[in-house]
Amino acid sequence: MEKFNPIGYNPEERFDFFLSQLREKRPGEWRWLLDMLRKRVTPWLFKKDGNLPAGAIASVDEFIEEVFANSLYQFCELFETGTFANLGEIRGLMFRIGELKLKEGYHKVRRDGLIYFKDDIRNNEDLTAQQDKLTLLDLRTQDAILELREQIVKLEKEDQEILIRYSKGEELSSIAINLGITAAACRKKKQRALEKLREFVLDGFGK
């Protein structure tokens, strides 16, 4: 049985037309391309992924999704000015970007250990040596995260509790029971608190 093809033609065979549709940002062609890239690139990233360093904040799934998302951002930027002779070249670009982003991802995981868990570094000498390993961008990110943590701590205790547990995957209904509040109150508090943090991040760090 023929596989359902939402764009109604084979992009390999009609590549020039396919490329022109992509340049015009046609949703059908882009959805086909992104679906194909996700199905091919994500399992490949999983295979290449080694064990995440201990203390990584994200799970493997979250890490791979972040790598894929960042790869996608760069792919979209490079696609605008790139030239491609066939579909294989488009795929190849995404794989090359994916490999680079995977390495960047590992660096970020190690860096996150220094940025997010800065409080754990007690010895000043160690702190200086550790911070030497951070780039200027990393140090700016570190400052930003410290400011964000200060904002979180300024929230009402109950709101902090809700957000911290929610971020770790707990369901709102379970959090509500535990805190002795209604589910509706819990979701309202969660929304309002997250909104405050979003406003802070998007206003402070710019778009």
């Binding site: 882009w30 199905k39 999983f46 964000l148």
Partner: protein, 254 residues
């Protein structure tokens, strides 16, 4: 500010709210395959969205590194004891299952997770949702300080509304409210429970109550909404705290 401007602002806020909620669900890996495909397309097309996603990702990562404020579950309350008991039962059942899997001769190959969190009970548009069913059947209609009686749509006979570009949803009932003055809203949710948890209603509008006598109000409204065929749950909520005070359901049919 005139009524039209208010409507426009309300629509913009709802769209922003829905976008925010889908970003959260994406980061928590709660999107279905179809939703993930749509969202990936939006990420490719929209640089602003990428910035928002990464801002949210930073927030969630930062939150994850912080210890719980309350120190986790406390002992003593009945609900917590039940939770612990439930957790122990789940662990025991899980251990038996793992043991059975380990003794199987042919193991299924491990397939890397490609898609976002796959819910085995992924609801279709018309599938009733147990959480909503319980919520609307719960005795929300009568409290010590208020009584809300919904005459239409009736709870016993699920209202069927023919699908059209814009459908009309009647709401009739009576409210006796002995608490301080409050505003009420009519919120419609699809059958996805996470939409309720994320305050992502498909429709929301203020209910204009008609005073009949002291603390006694009549509800007689017709709301216009654009809804696809499926089952929908509505809630009458107090605006300030989002508390559901009454609810029901209806079907939009082809």
């Amino acid at each position: 500010m005139n009524a039209k401007t208010k409507d426009i602002i309300s629509i913009i806020l709802k769209i922003e709210n829905m976008q925010t909620n889908i970003i959260e669900r994406y980061l928590r890996q709660e999107l279905s395959n179809e939703e993930l495909q749509d969202f990936t397309f939006q990420l490719a097309m929209d640089k602003e969205l990428r910035n928002e996603v990464e801002a949210n990702r930073m927030i969630f990562k930062t939150l994850k590194t912080m210890p719980p404020v309350g120190g986790g579950l406390t002992t003593g309350s009945k609900s917590n004891r039940l939770l612990w008991l439930g957790a122990i039962v789940i662990l025991l059942v899980g251990s038996v299952f793992v043991y059975q899997q380990m003794t199987k001769q042919n193991q299924a190959p491990v397939v890397p997770l490609i898609d976002q969190k796959e819910t085995t009970k992924q609801p279709i548009a018309f599938a009733p949702n147990e959480s909503y069913e319980q919520l609307i059947l719960a005795d929300l209609h009568r409290g010590t300080e208020y009584t809300l009686k919904i005459d239409f749509p009736e709870r016993e006979n699920t209202l069927e509304i023919q699908h059209a570009a814009s459908i009309q949803i009647p709401l009739k009932g009576n409210l006796q409210w002995n608490l301080p003055a409050a505003e009420f809203q009519f919120s419609i949710y699809s059958n996805k429970w996470e939409d309720y948890e994320n305050e992502s209603s498909v429709f929301q509008e203020e209910i204009k109550l008609k005073l009949q006598s002291e603390n006694d109000f009549v509800i007689d409204e017709i709301f216009s909404a654009q809804l696809q065929p499926g089952i929908y749950y509505f809630l009458i909520e107090t605006v300030e705290d989002g508390e559901p005070r009454g609810g029901g359901k209806f079907l939009v049919v082809d």
